[in-house]
């Protein structure tokens, strides 16, 4: 028992925790701080990328952190993540989904901070716009040291190939985003979120391979995608390629928040 809880009496013996809230002054006892961090993911050149921000202050000064911020008292969690995304990366209307909540007591050395992590998916083109806003913002390549959905922390590499050390437990958070994304890909049409509105089947396959970290069979990928009903031919084709141009498809029902 800590100072935040009173002795429980008979009537409160079960379910009393909630009753307790009624007489509870939120300002009187310390709560954990609540933040949200967003793993903004794109796929390009066979690698997943994510946006990180250089920390200007201690602790972990000079290391790289996910864009994040406090959850305001009157603001929903999804809304807080969307706000962070808009503020830090200038992005709206992208796929955004809650990932996991990280709250080990030691994860931030200053005070107890619980963070509700989100992940967002964008096509690489929109991604690059965002990274041009500041030299403290970088789109890093994600290096995944495990196969399949094993999970665990990942490493980041900057545009010059150098390692970007991650602040706090953010390597775990990005790793969790990769793991989730790999899992989702098997049964949800999440790959489209990483591509522009129109794309070829090969581009879609490359995105899937990038997410999964392994090559896929072209024939069956093609069949599976066309049979899924998620794709819709645009009637247009690629232009200015030095081979037979591929047909362009679009996602039949694109979702976003």
């Amino acid at each position: 028992m800590t100072g935040t809880r009173r002795r429980r009496t008979g009537a409160e013996a079960d379910g009393g925790e909630r009753a307790f809230l009624a007489g509870y002054d939120a300002r009187r006892y310390p709560h954990p701080s609540l933040t949200t961090d967003v793993v903004l993911v794109s796929a390009a050149e066979g690698t997943l990328h994510t946006l990180v921000v250089r920390r200007g202050d201690h602790p972990d000064k000079g290391k790289w952190a996910l864009p994040g911020g406090f959850v305001r008292l009157e603001e929903g969690l999804d809304a807080a993540a969307a706000r962070v995304l808009a503020d830090k990366a200038g992005l709206e209307g992208v796929f955004l989904e809650q990932l996991y909540t990280f709250g080990e007591p030691g994860r931030d050395p200053r005070t107890r901070v619980v963070t509700v992590a989100y992940y967002a998916l964008v096509d690489h083109g929109r991604f690059l716009e965002a990274s041009r806003r500041s030299s403290d913002v970088v789109v890093a390549r994600i290096e995944v040291p495990w196969d399949g959905e094993t999970g665990g922390p990942v490493a980041l590499a900057g545009p010059d190939g150098g390692a970007l050390p991650l602040a706090f437990d953010h390597a775990e958070i990005v790793g969790m985003a990769v793991k989730r994304l790999r899992g989702k890909l098997d049964y949800t049409p999440v790959g489209f979120q990483l591509l522009p509105a129109a794309f070829t089947l090969l581009e879609l396959q490359r995105v899937h391979e990038t997410v999964l970290g392994r090559p896929l069979n072209k024939d069956s990928f093609r069949r599976r995608m066309l049979a899924s009903g998620e794709l819709e031919a645009t009637g247009r084709s690629e232009r200015e390629v030095d081979h037979r141009p591929a047909e362009l498809y679009r996602f039949a029902r694109r979702r976003a928040i």
Copy 2:
């Protein structure tokens, strides 16, 4: 901007949220309250069950709530959920996993409460012990009004068949647990957690069918399970059944927290 944030200056323009924490006094500004709620799930008689507690106080007095409690300042999220499980249901060593974090501003009428929901899996036998501890604790049948992994709120029915109205957004939380469980079943050996140490293939199939809410093909279920390598024959058989006794299996590597 609320009073919880200062105006940002140039050096803080990106990543400043974290720097902000350094000079931040956690007791000076209101944070959301942080709780954890546990959806304790079992399978029996073709239906999923969960444990709920009758609320003795307003708001939602008389309605039924998931066992829950505050996350202590020095305590990890998993640890908080495990503590709630031990306190409220007397259960330890069961499968316990983070589910989702619910934090819409209006979900608790008194103050802003963000809850990190967990779900736990137990075999129905152990479950019943827990429910005998108090008349305010009930193991309810979960009635799922949607197919597959559609998601959405569910309803609860008490032992007498009457509806048990759920407090707050707990119908959503239980619904999310069912959805997650259905998704997990396809690719992880989570069904074993709902059974005692030794079980027959048909019992395992019934559990899967209960979770998924649809019948499964016996032959291919059998083949799939035996081929998965997750099962291990105990060498023993059922006793006292009025038909040919089935072989008892155990899970080859049972996991728990």
